[in-house]
């Protein structure tokens, strides 16, 4: 299974983390520090796998962003690379030519997409179209809720 997902940029700034195994807050920041160090220090033409604490970390760089996933020793590295690519494609489709700024300002959206892709550390949806549809549906739900909220806000303003 996938133990965690980390997104960081070339400067080591973390853009997204998702933990499927239990790590305390302290461990989390330690893991991130350790791994970004290892990954950023690796050159461009090297393989995308790093052995780490008896687990394997599969990472891939897209533009300035590194996507890393930590998997078990006997999990399939290439499959994990595919999952990463899958996720990136989905982000790309959702944000239309995704860039780092999109992820910075819509970090919760990136989470929601990831939640549709992975559950409990397993890939749960391999169809891009389905995920796009699901995310869009939820977005519209949120949108209606927000409209209602702003309506309420307007009412309050008028009352004042």
């Amino acid at each position: 299974m996938i133990h965690f997902v980390i997104l960081n940029n070339r400067q080591g700034k973390v853009r997204l983390t998702k933990w499927y195994s239990t790590y305390s807050q302290k461990e989390r920041s330690k893991v991130i520090r350790e791994l970004t160090g290892i990954i950023l220090s690796r050159g461009p033409k090297l393989c995308n796998f790093v052995e780490w604490r008896g687990l394997k970390v599969v990472y891939k760089r897209y533009a300035g962003l590194y996507f890393s996933m930590c998997i078990d020793q006997d999990d399939n590295e290439l499959e994990t690379l595919d999952i990463i690519h899958h996720y990136v494609e989905m982000l790309d489709r959702y944000f239309l030519n995704v860039c780092e700024l999109d992820l910075i300002y819509n970090f919760h959206k990136a989470y929601y997409i990831l939640d549709e892709l992975l559950l409990a550390g397993e890939l749960q949806e391999s169809s891009r179209r389905t995920i796009a549809r699901l995310v869009a549906a939820q977005d519209s739900l949120v949108e209606t809720a927000r409209e209602q909220a702003s309506l309420l806000g307007d009412l309050v303003k008028q009352a004042m």
Binding site: Y20, L123, S126
Partner: protein, 978 residues
Amino acid sequence: MASTTSSIMDTLFQRTLEDLIKGLRLQLIGESAFISKALEEIRREIKSTDPHTKSNALQKLSYLSSLHHFDMSWAAFHVVEVMSSSRFSHKKIGYHAASLSFSDSTPVLLLITNQLRKDLTNPNNEFEVSLALECLSRIATTDLCRDLTPEIFTLLSSTKIFVRKKAIALVLRVFEKYPDAVKVCFKRLVENLDSTDPHIVSAVVGVFCELTSNDPKSYLPLAPEFYRILVDSKNNWVLIKMLKIFAKLVLLEPRLSKRVVEPVCEHMRRTGAKSLMFECVRTVVSSLSEHEQAVKLAVVKIRELLLDDDPNLKYLGLNALSIVAPKHLWAVLENKEVVIKWLSDEDPNIKRESLRLVMAMVSENNVVEICRVLVNYALKSDPEFCNEILGSVLSTCSRNLYEIVNDFDWYVSLLGEMSRILHCQQGDEIENQLIDISMRVRDVRPELVRVGRDLLIDPALLSNHFLYRILSAAAWVSGEYVEFSRNPFELIEALLQPRTNLLPPSIRAIYIQSAFKVLIFCLHSYLLQRESTASSYPDTLALSELASKREMPEGSDLATFKAPSHSEQDEVFNPRVSNQSSEELSVGNGGDRTINHGQTSTPVTSENIFTYEAVVNQLNLIELALGPLTGSHDVEILERVRNLLCFIELIKGEILESLVQKEENLNSAEMKSSKIIKLMSDAFSEELGPVSVSAQERVPIPEGLVLKENLNDLEMICGDIQLPSSISFSLVSTHYEEGVGASLPDLQSKEELEPPSEATSLLAEHRKRHGLYYLTSEKNDIVANDYPPANDPKLQDDQNNDTEDLVKLTEQLLVSKKRPNQAKPRPVVVKLDGDFVPVSAKRPGPKDDSLSGAVQEVLLGNDTRTSTSRSNPSDKSSSKRKGKEKLITDPSSELNENLGDAEKLDHENPSSRRSKHRTHGKERRHKSPGKIREEREENGQKEKKKSSHRHARHKTRQRADVPLNVVSETPVIPDFLL
């Protein structure tokens, strides 16, 4: 009123998440200041009664928590509040925050059970259900799982695919936390394997893949279902998981492998996806390695990977090769060139992987060549990889008591060579091996001493602190086995060369002690030789020895040439005599003696280097070199130096005299000094044998010895002892200062004089109090070094054998403590016992046990084929439930068994026939689906009896089943397998 207005103000002017992020990026007031200000705001806003404000604050908080790692456990209650909001957008934020921040120990978890239940059963909004499921998959605890199992069970057969697949994925966590849920949910989970929807199948297979990897045995009965998916599925994600499952199952049930190998190879050949292909390869090499054809095919594929340009594939190819290596070494040997080529790849991971493979190739026959190649690579590599190479060479060669090393002379010289590699940081390991080999392998000692000498004699090595441990081993070896040395004098000089002051005190003490041993050996040989010459050629001696020293028999030419070169280091002590110092000295010192006694000049042949002059030279050299150390701060050094110098003091007079009185006294052999020397050399030549692990336990504790007594009151005694001892130290140092310290500046010696008395006394006190720690923390050889001081006085009266034995015994015990696995000696390599405790297979934890127990119970009814569930400790309630379960399942399982038995009887013949005619493979494959279906029919019948509400589905399946005549040929393996 004020609070409501403030909340309204908050609502209107609240910073949104976007504002927060923008502010963070602008960093007008610095990141930490900005964040603490934001946190302050959040703390205020989150208390707001307006759900919008509250959820917004929570969203900001979860942003800061997930990316800046701020603790948000304090907001747990607010998270619960937002979760229970009726608005989807708020709920979403709340659930997200919960899955981010809750852990098993979060107290508010107790509060959310009902909320979760409500959301899980929400009929209108499937997205709310999915939110609850997602969140549960992260935070579910045993209690939550127990309480929500019914809801999850219902969702497992939800008509909404979107919900059902998430419920399935969640089951993994539920089983892990609450194994009893298996009884409720497992059947339904298995049913989902038959689903026509690919998403569902993918989710179930994912769950089973995880379950199987933890405890494969319990899921063997599901092999038919898995097999069907393996053959039918077109989805690569699913196939990869399926292969993983079978990789585990096949190991447990060899018969399964015959069935699986064909489809796996088929996938391997056909697929275009590298990930699936690699998974097939890995399955074959790890689990199906006895199928020649499959392995051959896999090796072909591995070679493709190895030669690919993509570093990922290269890495995985090497990875797969290292899995195949233990069973099919030919596969590695076939790709030897490629593997060695990747040793110089730019990627450290690939290098490491290929190094692993190269080490796997090592055998008795090629160890020499491979080590040669590797050491050459080590010379060229960066420090890190260089050490990895050296480390793996060391560990491979020492594996299983140097199993693969035939030529120890070669290995020892390799060790010497390795220690000279610039980046070598394997000092500890090389040290251990040098000493280990010296103790185990008698025959290699001469070579070992030679290697040790080469290391000791090189002054350049003394500046590399990674080598200190190796040097200490070399020093110990050359002291312990000095009898194999060609030129012991040279050793003394090497051991006392000025640059040794770069060494740490503990190692320097070893040097000094070794010098002591060498000296004793020299003196002893000298005496022996003198006695023998005295008896046979009473007139022959001194001059001839001078000559012999020049001629240097045997290989000692080298030694003489070496000697000047390193006597350069003596410069400090004899500033005037540089290059020729040792020779000149010998001439100078011995000159007049030779004249005095030079009656004859009969050339003495053979290795007669123990001349009078040489001995006297050495005595002088030692005094000169060690004199300054009598003021050392280090107690170990101080003690050893004093031993050595006192010893010289003791014998020197007589040695010098002895020549004068030679004619009269020689035969009498009653000289005190020669007796002492003899005793000492006896003491040193006693070999330290390996000691069994259990030796210490076998020694009875002497009566009256209280080991656990509190030693606090020792302070009193120590206080008494302290004063005299420190005085004696300072006395000695002054004495030697006068005697020898002429070459040293007074200031320095004064400095050394004062503090040492204080420091050493402190040290002595500390040592006395914590003697235990001193002994264990020190090196083996130091332990051996403790020997002489303890023995010195006792040796004077040699009747005192008992105490000596005791000393020896304790020493051996100490040795055994250091290297606890020595035992029975063997002719060549001394064997150890207790070295290879077979590591028992990894036991699943108690939780897995109970989980697997539950699974097996469900799968097999009460017919527990494995003992796992029997040994499963279960509390009363669960055992009660188990009882009920039994009652329910009994009839069906009986039926099941009967059927199975009947079939077995029926088909014993066909099965044997099948095994003879292997050519019917194709036919068999055709039949297999039919058989599986029939298998499922059985399941269906079983389930029909128990659960009535799934009736219809099973009926339709039954109808689709093939005619009975297929049944008569199918089962080869017992019914629960294929």
